[in-house]
Symmetry: D2
Subunit: 358 residues, 4 copies
Amino acid sequence: MHMTSVQRARVAVAGASGYAGGEFLRIAANHPHLEVGTVTAHSNAGATLGSLHPHLRSLADRVLAPTSVEALAGHDVVVLALPHGASGEIAAQLPDDVLVLDLGADHRLVSAAAWEQFYGTPHAGTWPYGLPELLHVHDGAVTGRQRDALRGATRIAVPGCNVTAVTLGLQPGVAAGLIEPRDVVAVLANGYSGAGKALKAHLLASEALGAAAPYAVGGTHRHIPEIQQNLLTAGADAVTLSFTPTLVPMARGILATATARLVPGADPAAVRDAWAQAYADEPFVHLLPEGQWPSTAMTLGANTALVQVAVDAAAGRVVTVTAIDNLVKGTAGGAVQSLNLALGLPETAGLTTEGVAP
Amino acid sequence: MHMTSVQRARVAVAGASGYAGGEFLRIAANHPHLEVGTVTAHSNAGATLGSLHPHLRSLADRVLAPTSVEALAGHDVVVLALPHGASGEIAAQLPDDVLVLDLGADHRLVSAAAWEQFYGTPHAGTWPYGLPELLHVHDGAVTGRQRDALRGATRIAVPGCNVTAVTLGLQPGVAAGLIEPRDVVAVLANGYSGAGKALKAHLLASEALGAAAPYAVGGTHRHIPEIQQNLLTAGADAVTLSFTPTLVPMARGILATATARLVPGADPAAVRDAWAQAYADEPFVHLLPEGQWPSTAMTLGANTALVQVAVDAAAGRVVTVTAIDNLVKGTAGGAVQSLNLALGLPETAGLTTEGVAP
Amino acid sequence: MHMTSVQRARVAVAGASGYAGGEFLRIAANHPHLEVGTVTAHSNAGATLGSLHPHLRSLADRVLAPTSVEALAGHDVVVLALPHGASGEIAAQLPDDVLVLDLGADHRLVSAAAWEQFYGTPHAGTWPYGLPELLHVHDGAVTGRQRDALRGATRIAVPGCNVTAVTLGLQPGVAAGLIEPRDVVAVLANGYSGAGKALKAHLLASEALGAAAPYAVGGTHRHIPEIQQNLLTAGADAVTLSFTPTLVPMARGILATATARLVPGADPAAVRDAWAQAYADEPFVHLLPEGQWPSTAMTLGANTALVQVAVDAAAGRVVTVTAIDNLVKGTAGGAVQSLNLALGLPETAGLTTEGVAP
Amino acid sequence: MHMTSVQRARVAVAGASGYAGGEFLRIAANHPHLEVGTVTAHSNAGATLGSLHPHLRSLADRVLAPTSVEALAGHDVVVLALPHGASGEIAAQLPDDVLVLDLGADHRLVSAAAWEQFYGTPHAGTWPYGLPELLHVHDGAVTGRQRDALRGATRIAVPGCNVTAVTLGLQPGVAAGLIEPRDVVAVLANGYSGAGKALKAHLLASEALGAAAPYAVGGTHRHIPEIQQNLLTAGADAVTLSFTPTLVPMARGILATATARLVPGADPAAVRDAWAQAYADEPFVHLLPEGQWPSTAMTLGANTALVQVAVDAAAGRVVTVTAIDNLVKGTAGGAVQSLNLALGLPETAGLTTEGVAP
C-alpha cells in the first residue's frame, strides 16, 4: 500500500490495554493519515478504552474486542502489542498485503539460536527491523540506513526500547571504526512504564518512589542479543556487552550511558565529527551541542533521541549518553516512523520532536 | 484578523525563557496555523532556545532578543509571558489590530480594587477573559459562554491555572443554582512548574521529592478574586472562598478539589445532569463516567480538563474534582484555544485532548 | 505489666509482611525496651523478613510463621497488623494481661452502628483509643488527654492515619469553642504506602508518577466516623465532615488541610493561642512558628506531627494544615507511643522527632 | 579523647545550614554520646536551625553563629561541612587534641598533584581516611582495614559519597585479585541531595521530576582520583576508571553499578565468596542473598550499604551494584561511624541499619 496525501489507513491494534498499545493509539489518534479501527485485548476484552486509558479522550468510548485474527481482519495496518511469544501465530494468519508491525520481540532477531537462548521458545522468523536510523556498514563503509529496507515493507519488527537507546548512542563510533565493540558497558536508567502494567510488588509506587534498583543484571536481559545484532550491522566484527538496566522513579524515559574503548591509534578529535555526521540529517536523532547533556524529560511524548558523546582520555573510553521516551521513540513512535516509511508517507507524519517539558 | 485555513499567523513571544512562554512555543511549533517569529527574554537575551528549553527541538537555534516593543512589532500575534505587573506597559504600545494574549494576571480582573488589594500595583485595565467555557448566567438562565466574547478579539487575558481548574469544577452547579457559592472550600494539589523557574530553595528537587506542602494559606493567594469574578459571571450573587494550594512532587498538573454546600431544597439527583449538560458539547472539558475520578497524569500535555462530581448527603456538600495540566489547559493551551477563536480558526486547531500517559 | 528501665518486653507482630507491620518492626528493632519475638504472616508465611522488607537488616533472617493464636502466645506484647475485620477473632483469644495493639480499625469505634455502616461487618468492640494527645472536653473545659486512659492499658486501638492528622489539626479549635464543627472540610494529600501493598493497577508506579488523584470521594471513606468520634471527645456537640483524600507521588506522608468556620463572635486573635496551648507540652505535636508551613518531608520516619493554623477573615474560616508520616505518627510510631504509656515507659522511648530530610 | 560509656562529647558543626551539616545534626541529636554545641553558617548566620531544617525538631531553636575558629573553640569534636577548599584554613587553627572531621574533600587525597588537577587549589594535606571498611592489601594479602587507622585519630577526612559506594562495590574483587582494576566502568544513579542546596536551575523540582540526566561526564568528576586511591589501597597496581553519575528523581540515595573484567584465568565461582568474606563481619555493609538486588530506598536514613555481585560470563565482566544513602553512609553516618572509632565508642553507636522504607 502506498498512500496519497489525503488518504487514511485503517489500523487495528491487538493488545490495546497495555502501555505500548495505548501509546500507539495516542499517536494514531492525532496522526493525519491513520484512522483507528478495531482495538483488542485479552483479559480486558469488553471494557472501554476510556476505563483503561482515561487519557485517550477521543477514543474513550471504544470497546475492546477479544484478540483474534477475525477481529483484526479488514484493516490496512495491524499493530501487535502482545506479550513476547504471542505474535508469531497471529501474524502468520494475516494477509501478506496488510502492513503488520510487531511491537513485541518475536520477529526482531536474525539468529534463531540467540532467540531460543534468551526467550526459550521457538523462533517465529525475522522481519525487517524498524530502526530507520540504523547504519549499514560493509567493509568499513556506510552503505545505507535501515530506512531503505522499510519503504514498502509489509512486516516490521519494532525494536526494543533499550536497544534503540544503546544502538543510537554507539553506532556512529562503531561505523567509523573509532570505538572497540568488544568491551561495551551500558548502564541504563529506566522509567517504570518500560516494565509494563503487570501487577508485581516491585512495580508498586510505594516501592518505586525514592528507589533506584537494577534488574536483569549479569548478562540475562533479552535486549542483549538485539543490541549485538545492531552493532554488527553497523560494522562491528564482534560485540561483547555488559548491560545493566536500573529502574528509577519516573514513569517514562530511558537514559542510556554506553561506553566503549577508543580504538588504539584512533584520533579522539574525530569522535565528535563521526556522531555529527551520522545524525546531521536525521529528523529524530539529535546530537546536542558540546557541553549539553541529554535529559529524559526533554523527550517526553516526543519521537526524539538526544545524544551526546565525550572522550575520556584518561580512561581510554568514549562515553555516550542517549535519552529517549521509551514508549515513543523506544516503541510506538518508532513504530509510526517505520509505518510512515512503509506506507510512503512523510517519515515524520504524526510525530513530534518537541518533548513535553518541564 | 480572520484567517483562512491555509494561512499562518506570525506570533512573537515575550518572556520565552520561562515555563509559560516555553509551553506556548511547544504548542505553537506544532500548530498548523502559527509560525513562530521573534522570541524575547530579559536576563536570558542572547541565549538560544535550545540552551533554555532543550525540548523545543525545532526551535533550538532561535536566539532570544531583549524584550522590547520594537522586537515584538510586525507580528500578527504577540504573546506576553511576563511577570505580573510587567505586561501593562508593553501591551499599551502594541497596535490595536495585533492580537495580544497576556499569560500574566495584569488584565484579568474587572475590579481595580481587587487588583490593587491582591497585587499592590496600579490596575492595567481589563481585557476579554480567555476561558471559552465560562458560563454567563443572568437571572438564573445561561445566556451564553465566554467564547462568544473571544471571536475576533484583539486582546485576551489568559486565566490563571488554578482559576481554570476551580471554575470548571464549580460553575455548572453555580449556574444551575444547585450549590451555595458563599462557603466554597478549594484545596489543590499543584505541580512545581506552576511556581515558575525562580531559583528559590523550596523549589529545589531535594526539598520537593517526598514532600507535600501548602503555600499562600489563609486567603492570600492572588487567584482568589479571579475565581470569585468567574463564579459571579456564572450566576453567583456573592462568593466566599477558602482556597489552599499545596505543592506535590510532580512537574505539572493541578488537581482541584472544590466543594460547596448543596442549596437547601435542591435535588441531589439534579447534580450530575447539571454538570453533564454544561460540558456535553465542550471539546476540552470532559465529565467522567460515574465512579471514575480524574488524575492529573491523564491530562499531561493535553488541553483537557477532566471533571467529576459527587454529592455527599451526610455532609450536605457537593464535591467536585478537576484535573488539568497547569501549563496547557491552565495556561498556554487555553491561550491557543482563545487565539483560535480570536483568529476565526477551529477552536481545537493545534491542540490535543490526548494526555501523555502513563 | 509495668516495666523497669532495664527490661525488654517481647513483642510479636501478626501481619508482619505489610507496610504497617514492617514499620512497627523498624521502630521496635531500635527500641531500647522491646525485643522482637515471633513475626507472622498469611500468604507470606515461610518467607524471611529480609526477602519482604530488605530494609530491616537486623531482622533479615527471621522467618514468618503462619498467623495463629498459638504463634502469638508467650509474648508480653502482641501487635495486630491485619486487614480490617481480621483482628477481632484473634484478639478475643489472647490473654487479658498481654498488651494487644490493633493497628487495624476493628476496635476504634464506639458506635457499633457507625462501624457496621462503614465496614459492613459485625462490631468487634471498643478498646482504649491510642491517640495520647486527644483532648477530653466536658462542658467546655479540658478535663484531660487520652494518654491518661492509656497508662497501664492492655488493649489499645491504634488510630487511622488520616484520622490522626485531621484530629490533631482541628481539635484545639474545637476544644476552645473557636471553630464550628458542623461544616468541616478536609482534603488530604496522601503518600502511596497508606494504600498498602495490594497489587492494584492504580497503585503501580507508572500510574502514580506525575499523578494526583482522589479516592473515596463523597462521604464514603471509613475514617469519617472516627474523626467525628474524636472531635466529639474534644468538645464538639455534632460533627459534619466533608473528607477527600488524594494520592500524590510520594511513598509516605499525609498533608491534611482541614478547615472550619470561625464561630460567630469568636475572637480571631485567640486562635493561635488555642493551638499553642494545646500543644505546648506535647513531645510529638509541634505548632510551627507563624508563617512557616508544614511539609510532609520534614516528618519522614519521625513520630512528629507538624501543625500550622491561619485565620482567613474574608472566608470566615480557620485553616489548619498538619503533616505526619502516615506509617509513623499515623500508625506504628503512634502505636509505640501508646505502648510506652501502657508499659510505664517514657512516652518517647524508641521514637524520634527528627525527620529524615531532605 | 577516649570516652567512657556514660560521657557525652560536645560537638560543633561548621556549615550547619547545608544538607551534609543538617544530616550530621540529625544523627547527633539522637546519638547517646554526643551533645550538639555550637552550630555555624556563612550567609545563614543569625537564622534558627528550625527555619533552615524544620525536620530537626529538638534543635529548632538553635541560632546559627557566623563560622569562625572562635565559635568552634571549646568543643570535643568539630565537624566541618564546608565547601571544598574552605576547611583547610580553619582546620589548621583548631587544637590538635580536638577531633576534627572534614565532610568536604580537602584532606582526602594523598596525592597533591591529583588534588590540584581536579580541584585547582593548593593541597591542604592528608588526614586519616574515614572509610572503616576499606581493605588494606599488600603483596596480595589483606593486612587490615581502615578502621585500625581511625581508633584514637584526631583528624578524619570523611569520604565522598560516590566514592564510598563504588569502593565498597569493587574492593573485595580487587583485594582478592579476581577483577582487573585497569578498565573499571561505573555509572551511578544519584539523588538530588548529593548536589547540595545551591540555587541552580537544573536542580529545580520542575526540571528534576521525570528526568534522568548525567553530569560531569568524560573523566571530569572529582571523585575519580579518590576512588583510584582507595582501590590502590585495596591492592590494585593501577586503576583506570570511567565514571558517570546521573541525577534521578529522588532526594537521597546512590545506586552504583560498577563493573570490571574478570582477571583472565580467575575462577568465577570464587567471586561470591570473596565478597561474602569481605563483608561477613561488617555491621554496615551487607552482601545480599543471591538473586536479591539492592534498592536505594532500603537504605534511606540508615548507615547501611547493600551490595550484590554477579558474573557475566559472556561479557567477561563482574558486575557489582551498591546502594547507600548518600547523606548517611555516604557522608554524615560514615562520619559518625569514624567518630565512634576515634572516640573509643562502639562503632555502631547512634547509627541504625534499618532503612526507612517504603
